[in-house]
Symmetry: C2
Subunit: 366 residues, 2 copies
């Protein structure tokens, strides 16, 4: 193999590829990236057997071939090169990397040891705007669990119908849901993408502005952008039917400035005990939300947030971190906090009809 390519293209592809490698030394080939000439391009593949990435970059292919080299060393090396033009050339199972001022031999491993990245046989393909998908994932991903006993919660649920993609994540104490319109026609499908894959997918989507296609297969999903294919296994299992627990009516609603509620929660949060409990009182008389926390060690705090109240006075206790997590993923200026009582989920929605996202948080029972 002999390929001449530009540093920027190679660097970008390797930065992504080197994140999707094995982390144990039990199977050293998984630490490697596979370089392969294919249809006039250089194909760069990496996998940890759970997720896999294939990226194509342009280049001048002087000689076809393939090689595997350690992903992180190669990526770091290319990242530190200052010249634009890079020649990659195989020397047996090693790779000669050459620019005008520097050259290296990177030790490789036999390409036949590199795991085969399975070809997907899609049962359905849907299209979506890249930025829409990124934003929707950002809004929900934080709410998922890391659970070995309930593996189905350790991921984000993708629910597709004819027109939209509905994402959801929950750890049973809180739930996040975000709805996005598809750019093409959809098909009924449900799949759970693991947390780790969602994190990597977000990074990959950040690098592209074009659309993304989701190819759905039995036990895998493939996300295809202009230059890359990202493959993830899907989590087997039944996702809880969360729709039935979303309350339709509330006793009390308050509309507040998002940043003001964030500040007040941070102040009260300094005075919580280990349980993170903050008491929240919604008061109709002066249209306000009053937060209160007391710590036997540090002291106590009372903070007031002005708002607009609909319904009765109410008083509920929350783990303040759960509320803060939701607010930190809301970019809108105002939010609505809707509550019933200490044993029913409360709802937080950004006040912006277009956003189509909601959060549920379970209060602390007293």
């Amino acid at each position: 193999m002999k390929v001449i390519c530009t540093k920027d293209n190679l660097k970008k592809a390797l930065t992504q590829a080197s994140r999707i490698v094995g982390t144990t030394s039990a199977l050293p080939i998984l630490n490697n990236v596979l370089l392969k000439t294919e249809a006039g391009q250089l194909l760069i593949s990496s996998t940890n057997l759970e997720i896999a990435l294939k990226t194509r970059i342009g280049g001048q292919i002087e000689e076809a071939g393939e090689i595997t080299v350690p992903a992180r060393t190669f990526s770091e090396y290319i990242g530190n090169i200052n010249e634009e033009k890079i020649t990659l050339q195989t020397k047996n199972i090693n790779l000669l990397v050459k620019t005008e001022k520097t050259e290296s031999i990177l030790k490789g491993l036999p390409t036949e040891d590199f795991p085969l990245i399975p070809e997907i046989k899609p049962v359905a393909t849907v299209s979506i705007n890249t930025l829409d998908l990124s934003q929707a994932l950002e809004r929900v991903a934080f709410a998922s669990a890391y659970s070995e006993t309930q593996p189905e919660l350790s991921g984000v649920l993708f629910q597709i119908n004819a027109t939209e993609l509905r994402l959801a994540a929950t750890d049973r104490y809180r739930l996040a849901e975000s709805i996005t319109t598809l750019t093409g026609r959809g098909i009924e499908a449900k799949l759970i993408i693991p947390n780790r894959a969602v994190g990597e997918l977000l990074r990959i989507l950040g690098e592209t502005e074009q659309g993304v296609e989701i190819l759905i297969a039995d036990s895998q999903a493939l996300f295809r952008t202009a230059n890359s294919e990202f493959i993830s296994r899907v989590i087997e299992g039944q996702y809880p039917d969360y729709q039935q627990i979303i309350p339709r009516e509330f006793t009390t609603e308050i509309r507040v400035k998002t940043r003001e509620l964030v500040s007040a929660l941070k102040l009260s949060g300094l005075f919580v005990q280990d349980n993170n409990n903050v008491e929240m009182k919604i008061r109709k008389s002066d249209q306000s939300l009053i937060l209160r926390a007391t710590s036997s060690k540090y002291g106590s705090n009372t903070s007031l947030v002005q708002g607009e109240v609909i319904g009765n006075d109410n008083e509920i206790i929350f783990n303040f971190r759960y509320i803060l997590d939701c607010l930190n993923h809301i970019t809108q200026d105002h939010v609505l906090l809707k509550v019933i009582n200490n044993s029913s989920p409360a709802m937080i929605v950004p006040q912006d009809e277009a956003s189509r996202c909601l959060y549920l948080v379970m209060p602390i029972k007293t």
Copy 2:
């Protein structure tokens, strides 16, 4: 005590104060900051018995008094307040902190338990420009040791004479020296300021643009800026007479672009064995520096840096990290690397006469 002050002043003072507190729970009072009204200002003091800081901020003193409260909680709390006007008021040994929208009670400790910060009896006082002192400290501090057996190396040497301050730091493998002109008349003095104190001093100097006075006492030094006094113990012991090991003549000199040498070292550095050794060859014939490293695990690298050579061809092995550390503290475009042989220190100097700083690095003997 009752004081009304602005958030920004209080926040800045507390951020600094909360860094200079004890870290063990053995003496809880050392985690606290002492607030005290004094001459129409609010004096904020903290100490960990090794170093101490006193900062004064303006405010409306409605009632004189003093109190101690946990430094970090107080600092974090004030940092999260969004309003400008803050009222601080003692309630027995607790502190009521009040703004329009939030109020807290912070639990205090008796002020009589707070350690006395010793008054310095200076034998000499010298003045220096704040930015000059910061820059000189930044240039040398990284080269000091963290040595229990040679405590005198675990700090920066301040050598003062009639006109200048000469700073030095070494860990016996490398040495950094930087010379700065005093703004007033100096006096002969030598003192070693501990690493930790140098780190905090740099942060404090970063907050002021005015000059700094150094008050030298027997076992302490005080750095006085417009609003603060920073006190550190000095390290007892004899600093090595490093002047005698600085070579005056060299066999080979090469002048290179700083950033080019940095890049080449980073590339070679990816291929070193555990010993970090990089071989550097200075070649008169093509006016270049050639770096070479070989790793049994990853492969090998050869990089070339163009330069201007004076003297003979030469070949020396360095721990590349020592060279990189020096270069990372050089802001000038060009550096001179001056070498003799593998058993004599090499010198690195930024090529800018005004900078008055130099680095020595010991090569690896072969």
